[in-house]
Amino acid sequence: MNILTRLTIAATLAVTALGASDASATDITFYYPIAVGGPITKVVDDYVAEFSKTHPDITVKPVYTGSYQDSIVKAMTAAKAGNAPDVAVLLSTDMFTLIDDELIEPYDAIAKSESDQAWIKSFYPAFMENSQADGHTWGIPFQRSTIVQYWNKDAFKAAGLDPEKPPANWDEMVAFGKKLTKRDASGAVTQWGLEIPSSGFPYWLFQALTTQNGAILANQDGTKVAYNDPKVVEALQFFADLSQKHEVMPKGVIDWGTTPKDFFEGKTAMMWTTTGNLTNVRSNAKFAFGVAALPSKVRGGSPTGGGNIYIFKSGDKARQAAALEFARFLSTPERAADWGIATGYVATRPDAWQTDAMKKYVSGFASAAVARDQLKEAVAELSTHDNQRVTKALNDALQAVLTGVKPAKPALDEAQAEATRILARYQP
């Protein structure tokens, strides 16, 4: 026997031995994006460390995957090459895309015990609207949000408004906005009444307006949209009028990322943004501020937003069971409360709000509960098959109207035609 053969045999034995010792532990990979500031990777690492303490037979490898956009690209690339993550946090609106590509496993297929079934039912129904389709549950709410309005109480006082009373409906919003918009001697605006951001994903904020006007943008199965419904056209006209006719909001596209900064610096007296911003506003606003549910027109309401936990198909029973175990661990009432406090997202289940930590947090900071209370009126975030392209049609129309390039009706007719064309192949 020469040296080479001996080495080969030794190596083979070593590999077999390693493989055998590996078989007793299950390794799973967890992809997660970060959409809020702060040391979030550390919080996630701590969760994983805690999990491995109580589950020594499962090893979780947490992988930070950038923004939501980057995360879906990474997860889908890896999954299609046969290297899928076992658990991933991705946008709730990515659900149809993931189903169409047959990448994710429905929870009801793996979570069969009675306690598993009860667990699936334990979340706020508004969050489950974006998590269920075709009679299956595909996602479990993790970092979810709604849109709320923030107002600067000092600016309200200065404008002669009641600082404790935010606008309750559209008319009040315009009236307050006119009082709050301040101009200097040359006519340049020094303080705007309101900012509703319209960069990046304008459809989400716009969906709040359509909801309040009584329109629903897409059906539950994600096969039809109603972009040119008269109520939607009316909502878009109002969105454009805020800057073009009433002049209470800056003209053109308002940047999502810098809107909170404008609020801190007094460039706008009111803003609409996610509850995920709460912790940020709380630590940066140098004035008294308030948080309230959005104003109403025919009804109140906001779309939900944010990320769900998905379990990917791996064809390996043990890994899927471990993935389920980890998903359940991440969504216990205590952890949902902890994650909500750390990030500002809405804790995803009613019993999370009954935990001691959450009770203490809310008693010191009542604004934290606003988004939860708004859930009663919340609707599913716009999500369809081929979601990216269908929402892009609407985004393009919105920005064209807000920048004054097109009137509302023809822009939305065009978006509807484009969306109908894309969705044609998904019709039953």
């Binding site: 923004s67 990474k74 090459a81 990322g257 940020n280």
Partner: protein
């Protein structure tokens, strides 16, 4: 007199353009050394601080990321130099069947953006077992069409007589390449090296997709933790992080400025 006036005007205009070009950088420096309350407010008396750099440094394991990025860009550049030199020499000096077609195929690669190939590249690396390794991040880039094209053109412009003279002295092919072609194409190497290093220093999507651990991820992936879309943007920390991560490149450029600019002029890349 008129001549001097013209010269003066062109100097002023050059300074003006230079200033406009430098504004984003100047702003980044301003935002990075002031508390975030002053990020968009210009006040000469604003208090100076280095805190933003501290916060940026603590937000991700940047020391490790610096090492990874340095290993990656240097490794990729070294591999590119070897492969592109040999390929370019073959295409420039040897006549063989199908060399024209081969060169055309290489040029076709220039038209394809790397992002289109992410899926296929990932599959290949998966089969090779190179997912989540620095080699995996760099491998798809080592046979660079741009590098081959650039070096082939410059090798072609080197007089054949020099090559012949080296042969007469008894030099082998590799010796000829090293003694004749490399020194004469030096400006092209410097220019191409700079393009390659800055591209891979900034590359983001591919490294993000193909890596999973701190040990293999480059700086750009670390920077991404500041893009907190749900929460608005803290310009001060972002600017501090951006300055910090681009500093080595900027310092290197300033040090070797003269050599770089001359190389670019000679190599004809602008």
């Amino acid at each position: 007199m008129l001549n001097r006036l013209g010269e003066f005007a062109s100097t002023v205009i050059a300074w003006l353009f230079g200033l406009i070009w430098a504004l984003p950088l100047l702003y980044a420096i301003w935002a990075a050394v002031h508390p975030s309350a002053f990020a968009t407010r210009f006040d000469l008396l604003a208090p100076l601080t280095l805190q933003n750099f501290g916060r940026a440094w603590a937000a991700a394991p940047f020391a490790r990321y610096f090492l990874n990025t340095a290993l990656l860009v240097l490794g990729v550049m070294a591999a590119q130099f070897v492969i592109c030199t040999l390929a370019a020499f073959g295409l420039a000096r040897w006549k063989f069947f199908g060399s024209g077609v081969l060169f055309a195929l290489i040029l076709v690669q220039l038209m394809v953006t790397p992002d289109v190939l992410i899926m296929e590249n990932y599959r290949t690396l998966q089969k090779l077992g190179l997912i989540d390794t620095l080699t995996g991040v760099g491998l798809p880039y080592v046979a660079s069409a741009f590098g081959i094209f650039l070096l082939r053109q410059s090798f072609k412009s080197i007089p054949k007589e020099l090559d012949d003279a080296a042969r007469m002295e008894g030099a082998s092919t590799l010796q000829t390449i090293r003694r004749v072609y490399l020194p004469l194409a030096r400006p092209v190497y410097v220019a191409y090296g700079l393009v390659s290093v800055s591209y891979h220093w900034n590359n983001f999507l591919w490294p993000l997709i193909v890596t999973n651990s701190v040990e293999t991820r480059p700086l750009t992936v670390g920077l991404q933790v500041f893009a907190s879309v749900d929460q608005g943007i803290d310009w001060s920390v972002i600017c501090a992080a951006a300055l910090m991560t681009s500093a080595p490149l900027m310092i290197a450029f300033l040090l070797f400025q003269r050599a770089f600019i001359q190389s670019f002029l000679r190599a004809g890349i602008r």
